[in-house]
């Protein structure tokens, strides 16, 4: 009962806000939307507790039968049903708790916006879709949530819709993820065609029962589902939308593009683990996609100048870690990292938002500087976020990331090369974090305004709670052994060399030390030199800055040809062909009009010639 109500709290709040938009004050709207989230958070914690006592570790709740697909003689019904196990419990807790904190922050942060109620309504709607996504007991309902979060993401990226750039970013995000969604939809068709079911539990069981490891159907289905995951989670090759998505308000970036929606792809793969283990090849692809994305995003984050874009690329790279974990078969570690990442990345984004707000919407780190002195509270929280991101020992990031890295070396679907990628990624993470910190927080002030501090109890509560969660989140490791019982592999740690762990732990520290010296100029140099540095970028830096040129590549390969063909054929060539018939008929009409000249003598002549021809023809 509690379970089936969970998505309805934010839904009711959404509906009330939409319907009563004009009558509600800021206070009422905030209470409504944040209150709904608070109830949601409490409910999901209660559910987590109930789940621990449930005998089989599963709670289900059936709402109504949505429709049923016929499979030969039998029918497979697709229900509006929720399915809660340890995995979805982790997800709902993350979604509703982090969601609640971000809502609380947003209520303060967006107070001045004239469309505040619209914003909160979208945020609530997003939570509804996200909860449906993680609770769905079948893939079609999951797809509903999947598209729902996509639509909300679109709406929130384009929230300030009067700016052309935001509109384009929103469109890009929607269409790029839609490409992944389509792949996922095709995967669904294939899945139903071969297994006759779309229910997640059934599919996982049937697949294990019917298919051998390495089955061809399983390979294609996993590959197509991976396409969906890649689109949603901004992984290579569909990663280009995420940096642009930072056009949305900062709480949106925190909620959707860091903590929850972008990890839906990870969730999808973890959810379908029974299927994915049947295809080690795809698992290997997952690992490689994760690894290449994490490196790509790491390099791109090294040279960004917009604080939110740095964080966006860092999100991409952290999701790369999760993918890498899933690919390596470290399912629990991947989900654990998803959780800790949600905490510290939400913290980073929200703090960044507070700083941006305080500096009058200044997002360029080269124009910040010295923030540590001016905004010590926010800076402190930001540092907490950064050390978690860098995975310094003791923080939550450390536990989850080490769990992933430890698994890579001897995993059958990953291996040593991927281990080195992960280490390199960790090094990059600590370097770009330090660079960000040095440029924006240390050195001299490069802004002339008074800082405008957001001081509100709600805001502080949400930030501090997130900071605490980020620090101690490492001790909240979820027990997912029931979910991944079948999928967890026997890994022999015998062959691993002794230095592995030492290297993994030392890497971030090496990164910090390296940056301390390499970026020493960023700690001291005067403002003027930054602008010079910005202008005189070498090609490699510019290449990294553009996210390794993927945007450009897609523009040349896909967008331009498509638009060109569309423009060229705007008048519809088929229509032109059909209408050329009218031209042909018109031609004959003109000929006949000419002969119909009204001159008696012409008619007589034509008559005579016709008669002669006729008689002649007849006689001959």
């Amino acid at each position: 009962m509690l379970l089936s109500l969970l998505p309805f709290y934010p839904l009711i709040s959404f509906l009330l806000i939409v319907l009563l938009k004009k009558q509600l004050s800021w206070w009422q709207t905030s209470v409504l939307s944040v209150g709904a989230m608070l109830i949601c958070a409490i409910t999901s914690l209660v559910l987590l507790n109930t789940l621990n006592q449930a005998p089989d570790g599963v709670i289900t709740s059936h709402l109504w039968r949505w429709f049923s697909l016929s499979d030969g003689d039998s029918f497979a019904s697709v229900n509006f049903s929720f399915y809660l196990d340890a995995l979805s419990a982790v997800m709902i807790c993350v979604v509703s708790c982090v969601g609640f904190l971000i809502h609380l922050f947003a209520a303060v942060y967006m107070k001045e916006d004239e469309n505040f109620s619209r914003f909160m309504a979208y945020m609530n709607l997003f939570i509804v879709a996200m909860l449906i996504l993680v609770l769905a007991d079948n893939l079609v309902l999951l797809y509903l949530g999947w598209e729902g979060v996509g639509l909300c993401s679109f709406l929130l990226i384009g929230f300030w819709y009067q700016e052309k750039a935001n509109v384009l970013a929103a469109r890009k995000a929607f269409i790029v993820t839609r490409i992944g969604d389509t792949s996922m939809a095709i995967g669904l068709f294939m899945l139903f065609n071969s297994l006759g079911s779309v229910n997640i539990v059934e599919v996982n069981e049937l697949a294990t029962a019917q298919w051998q490891v390495g089955n061809n159907d399983a390979y294609w289905i996993c590959l197509l589902l991976l396409g969906g995951a890649v689109g949603k989670s901004a992984q290579l090759p569909l990663q280009t939308w995420l940096p642009d998505a930072m056009a949305g308000p900062t709480p949106v970036s925190a909620l959707i593009h860091a903590a929850t929606m972008v990890t839906a792809g990870v969730y999808l793969i973890a959810r379908m683990n029974g299927l994915f283990i049947l295809s080690p090849q795809v698992m290997n692809y997952v690992a490689w996609i994760g690894a290449s994305t994490l490196l790509l995003a790491g390099f791109a984050a090294l040279v960004q100048s917009d604080i939110k874009r740095v964080l966006a690329y860092s999100t991409m790279s952290q999701i790369g870690y999760m993918m890498l974990a899933l690919g390596a078969g470290a399912w629990s570690a991947g989900i654990f990292h998803l959780m800790t990442h949600a905490f510290f990345k939400a913290l980073l984004f929200l703090t960044a938002g507070a700083i941006i707000y305080a500096l009058h919407h200044q997002q360029n780190i080269f124009k910040m500087g010295g923030v540590l002195k001016r905004l010590p509270f926010e800076s402190g929280l930001f540092i907490i976020g950064l050390i978690c991101l860098m995975a310094l020992p003791g923080t939550s990031g450390f536990f989850s990331k080490e769990a992933i890295i430890a698994h890579l070396w001897s995993s059958p679907t990953a291996g040593q090369a991927l281990w080195w990628c992960a280490i390199l990624g960790a090094l990059l993470t600590s370097i770009y974090s330090c660079r960000l910190f040095f440029i924006a927080f240390l050195s001299k002030e490069r802004f002339s305004h008074q800082v405008e501090n957001l001081s509100s109890v709600g805001l502080k509560i949400s930030l501090i709670t997130l900071a605490v969660l980020s620090l101690v989140g490492g001790f909240l490791a979820p027990d997912l052994s029931t979910v991944f019982a079948k999928a967890s592999q026997e890994v022999s740690h015998m062959v691993e060399p002794q230095w592995l762990h030492a290297v993994a732990i030392a890497t971030p520290i090496i990164g910090i030390v390296f940056s301390w010296f390499y970026f020493s100029k960023y700690r001291s140099v005067e403002p003027m030199n930054y602008q010079k540095a910005e202008q005189n970028q070498n090609p490699i830096v510019r290449f990294c800055f553009s996210g390794l040129g993927f945007d450009r590549l897609y523009e040349i390969l896909l967008i331009k040809p498509f638009v060109a063909i569309a423009r060229l054929n705007k008048r519809d060539v088929v229509d032109q062909l059909v209408m050329s018939l009218t031209w042909y008929i018109g031609l004959w009409r003109d000929v006949l009009v000419y002969s119909q000249n009204g001159l008696m003598r012409w008619y007589a002549a034509a008559f005579a010639i016709g008669l002669v021809c006729f008689i002649g023809g007849w006689l001959l």
């Binding site: 819709y161 068709f189 065609n193 423009r567």
Partner: protein, 478 residues
């Protein structure tokens, strides 16, 4: 009997509205609305209270019409026709409400044409004598042409003639096929017959039936419309008055799909199975080509028109996949597309009434001045690009999952249409409601809000509880 009464009632009240034109022209719309509501309700009441389950065709009327040729006036109903008739009534109410302020010139005659078109459509959905079917097929065509030609936009004459010629030429092929079928019946049974039920008993040789099937198929494919005979649609839609577009997209296109379901597939099962790969390829091209053309358009109504071509491609693909899922998908898509495209055309009309333009380049930032309208526009655009939770998704999902079992490769390519629909849907919504503010105007009036809200609620309810329709959908012939 009820159906005949419906048609007579519609034509008579249309005639009354026309007669009233000279006395009090403002009353025509009230007459039309009242007539539609009363007749629609009585029809619904009839179905609900009727003891028949309508699982198979129920013959309601069977009277000799032209005895020399054994042409009979035969009217029958089943669940498919009931569903489409209810859709027809809903959209007629929408069409009348949407014309409320738009039509000021010759109101009485306008409503006469509107109601006569509806009467013809009702006939098409219920006639089971093929000659009668052909008769109604023509009846619905003429007043529709008049609607476009008299009350349309700047290029209306051209569009009306194009529409007329396309449908007329293709329906002549159907007439030939109908007559040939009647003679085949004479050959085999000894008597001419145009009755659908009689034709079901005919045994057809392979080569004959293929050409006969093509005769029907072309007529219905033009109406659907399918690539490459789709090009009347963008012109007719663009030039028609708003209510005309609503009726065209909402119901007239459905008569093509109805014909495919009822006649082509059922009368010529073997021939259509043989033809299915070609039809599927045509459908695929319609889906992708329609989506691509929609993206290139700058005219609001033209964009929606091309999107209709794309959506109807899904219907055709599903129908020629010959399985239960795909069939359900086709039926749901018919209803869902009827509602959603009608809504989008209604929005085109509302925007046109405010800024006197259909050009997307002149629009932008409407959300600021009319957020309610924006919200609904987004909802309908989302319906058009197959947002789960709205009815169109159910249709597309069923269609594709069913089609996949028969044509995997074509279905995978057709699924690219999902991306295409997102692209044009976003283009449509964003260039009118988002972006820099170029125009501002008043938000939806109560009448317009009622239209939008009711269509949206229908879409949402069907999207969340599709069984309301699915449990009735026609299953014969499969």
């Amino acid at each position: 009997m009820i159906i005949s009464l419906l048609m007579i009632g519609l034509v008579l009240s249309g005639g009354f509205a026309w007669y009233m034109e000279t006395k009090r022209s403002g009353q025509a719309k009230f007459i039309a609305l009242l007539a539609t509501l009363v007749l629609g309700f009585s029809f619904t009441l009839y179905i609900v209270t009727s003891p028949d389950s309508f699982a198979d065709l129920v013959l309601l009327t069977n009277v000799t019409w032209i005895s020399v040729f054994n042409i009979r006036y035969m009217i029958a109903l089943d669940n498919l026709s009931n569903l489409l008739l209810i859709l027809t009534f809903i959209l007629t109410v929408v069409a009348i409400l949407i014309s409320w302020r738009e039509i000021t010139h010759r109101q009485g005659f306008y409503y006469f044409n509107l109601l006569t078109t509806i009467a013809g459509i009702i006939g098409v959905f219920t006639a089971v004598d093929m000659f009668l079917f052909f008769f109604f097929w023509e009846v619905m065509l003429l007043p529709m042409t008049a609607l476009i030609a008299i009350w349309g936009h700047e290029n209306r004459q051209f569009a009306a003639i194009k529409f007329f010629i396309f449908t007329q030429v293709s329906s002549l092929l159907m007439l030939i096929a109908i007559i040939m079928m009647a003679f085949l019946h004479k050959q085999q049974v000894g008597q001419l017959s145009f009755a659908y039920e009689d034709w079901l008993t005919l045994t057809l040789t392979a080569d004959y039936s293929y050409y006969l099937m093509l005769g029907f198929f072309i007529a219905f494919a033009v109406k659907l419309p399918s690539f490459p005979v789709h090009s009347w649609l963008p012109d007719a839609h663009t030039q028609a008055p708003t209510a005309g577009s609503v009726l065209l997209a909402g119901i007239l296109l459905k008569t093509g799909a109805y014909g495919l379901i009822r006649f082509v597939i059922v009368l010529f099962p073997q021939a259509s199975a043989e033809f299915a790969p070609i039809a599927a390829v045509l459908a695929l091209i319609s889906i992708l080509y329609g989506a691509k053309m929609a993206f290139a358009q700058t005219d609001f109504k033209r964009l929606v028109a091309y999107s209709s071509i794309s959506h109807m491609g899904f219907v055709m693909l599903a129908l020629f996949a010959f399985n239960a899922n795909a069939f359900q998908g086709a039926v749901i898509t018919l209803v869902a597309h009827g509602l959603s495209s009608a809504a989008l055309f209604a929005f085109a009309g509302m925007i046109y009434a405010r800024i006197h333009s259909r050009d997307l380049r002149q629009m932008g930032g409407f959300w600021r001045s009319s957020p309610v309208m924006g919200g609904f526009a987004l909802a309908f655009a989302a319906a058009a690009f197959g947002m789960p939770g709205l009815a169109n998704f159910i249709g597309e999902f069923y269609s594709l999952i069913g089609a996949f079992q028969r044509f995997p490769l074509i279905t995978i390519l057709a699924a690219l249409g999902i991306i295409g629909s997102a692209i044009y849907g976003m283009l449509l919504f964003q260039s009118s409601f988002q972006g820099p503010v170029k125009n501002s105007f008043i938000d939806l009036s109560i009448r317009e809000g009622f239209i939008a809200a009711s269509l949206f609620i229908f879409l949402l309810v069907l999207g969340l509880f599709p069984n309301l329709v699915l449990q009735y959908s026609y299953n014969g012939g499969l």
